[in-house]
Amino acid sequence: MAIAKKRSRAPTLDVKVLSNELGATVKEGAVSTARGRYFVTVGATKREIPIGDLNMEADVKPFVGLKVPVIVSGRAIVAIGDLQWKRPPILCYIPPPDLFRRIRGDMRATLVDRYVGEGVIPARLGKQLVERFG
């Protein structure tokens, strides 16, 4: 699947204005990286920063090692530093490219077993699915 890769950084953001709009609190977080993944630690909570077609690595890299303002809503990261996190545009009936996310193989396998057990997934297909995800 070909997806356009060139992304520019979002316009500079005033986190205070955004937090007021959202009714969310601005916290301070430390951005770190390990094995090609990016994280932000707010208090005792470390969250992975999702990198994808909407939010590029080049946008996050400058924040590594810095303490930056962070806005979190629920589990979602809304803003880091002066960068507003782009959410995938949700289109009726159409999955946006950033909607796709791999789900852990062991969790899939557990569900395959359950639905094979219930007779929803035929056993021969269940075996193929577990081989693929396991």
């Binding site: 009726c92 569900l111 395959v112």
Partner: protein, 364 residues
């Protein structure tokens, strides 16, 4: 350069299913996959190139009907990926045979429908016996073929109780993205509303089920068809992504019918013009398109909800299809009985042909 990034191409009117919630105003079970007026592969390639020159096009959704019925679908997908476009094929999932998949480029994204993990219920909603069995076979094959899978769960009053299991089945089959769409009524489905449209508690039930799946499996779930927040408080569902009608904004997805007619979106029967004869820019900048994205419905003017400017009365196409005006709020608000509907500014469109009074009996 127009800002739009997505467009929907309806490749055919033909479909082997007869889903109870089908919104396609032209739905016709006897339609042939290709007719003399159907856009050819070459025409599709050329018109997409033209749209790409006029917009920031990144994604093309190939829909129908059932796009898998087009023998030249693999070639169409290849043409579009050669244009560096992201392609998603919106399919029932029931026709993913080995032969069809072999011809489809690996990595093609497929969006398929699972209405329930209960075979009898899924088949009843799809209007075809054996449908779920074929979806399960097809999804397994597609996953092995290297396709990326998204599962769409269209929720109505019949299956609202089984959303969790439908999503779990999608995860088991390898889906990486999920769309949770409450039924969106049209003048064709409005007569079935009493047994088709979920009530408020059923909408809450489906959202709670999806929320728990999203949290437990870290599954990305988009609630795509808008749910006006006057029906249900959306704030408890922090793991779900809620979508709103882009109303002609940057995220608008204008839709091209199988015969080249451009429409504001896939849900609307309003024809803006023929894209074979006129440029995309002239059609989307024309008065009919501007008029379509109407201002806030009068009944929503006094709304003080923080999401008012996202919601803007829900789906304007549904209002237009059911009431004949976009100045009323989404019919889902009236059908769930939460608010008193404003007096109709125009006669419901359904009264002019098929009757708009909710009636009818469920299938099966």
């Amino acid at each position: 350069m127009l800002p739009f990034r997505s467009v929907v191409l309806e490749l055919t009117e033909a479909c082997p299913h007869a889903c109870v919630h089908c919104y396609n105003y032209w739905r016709e079970q006897r339609a042939r996959p290709v007719t003399p007026t159907t856009l050819s592969r070459t025409e599709i390639r050329d018109l997409v190139r033209r749209i790409k020159q006029e917009t920031r096009l990144e994604q093309v959704a190939l829909s129908g009907g059932e796009p898998m019925l087009r023998p030249d679908l693999p070639g169409i997908v290849r043409d579009l990926t050669d244009e560096d476009l992201s392609v998603v094929v919106i399919t029932s999932g029931a026709l993913l045979t080995p032969t069809r998949l072999r011809r489809l480029p690996a990595g093609t994204a497929l969006e398929m429908s699972i209405f329930s993990a209960d075979e009898a219920l899924h088949d009843r909603i799809a209007g075809r016996k054996g449908a779920l069995r074929r979806v399960i076979e097809g999804a397994t094959r597609a996953s092995r073929h290297g396709c990326r899978l998204a599962v769409s769960v269209v929720v109505n009053a019949l299956n609202a109780h089984d959303v969790r299991r439908a999503l779990e089945l999608g995860i088991a089959l390898g889906a990486e993205g999920f769309l949770l769409n409450r039924v969106n009524v049209t003048r064709l489905t409005l007569p079935q509303a009493p047994w088709l449209v979920p009530n408020r508690s059923q909408i809450e039930e489906m959202l709670a089920a999806a929320e728990s799946v999203a949290a437990e499996f870290d599954a990305p779930i988009a609630v795509s068809v808008p749910i006006p927040p006057c029906i249900v408080d959306l704030s408890p569902y922090s793991h779900l992504h809620f979508g709103w009608c882009p109303r002609g904004g940057d995220n608008a997805y204008y839709t091209v019918s199988h015969d080249g007619k451009l429409r504001p979106c896939n849900h609307s029967s309003v024809v803006l013009g023929d894209i074979r004869r006129e440029s995309f820019a002239s059609l989307v900048n024309g008065a009919p398109a501007r008029d379509f994205w109407s201002p806030l419905p009068a009944g929503c003017a006094a709304c003080e909800h923080p999401l008012r400017d996202q919601c803007r009365g829900g789906c304007p196409a549904a209002s237009d299809e059911c009431y004949g005006t976009r100045e009323r709020w989404d019919p889902i608000v009236d059908l769930t009985g939460i608010l008193t509907p404003p007096s109709a500014a125009a006669a419901p469109r359904g009264n002019r042909d098929q009757g708009c009074s909710p009636a009818g009996t469920p299938p099966g």
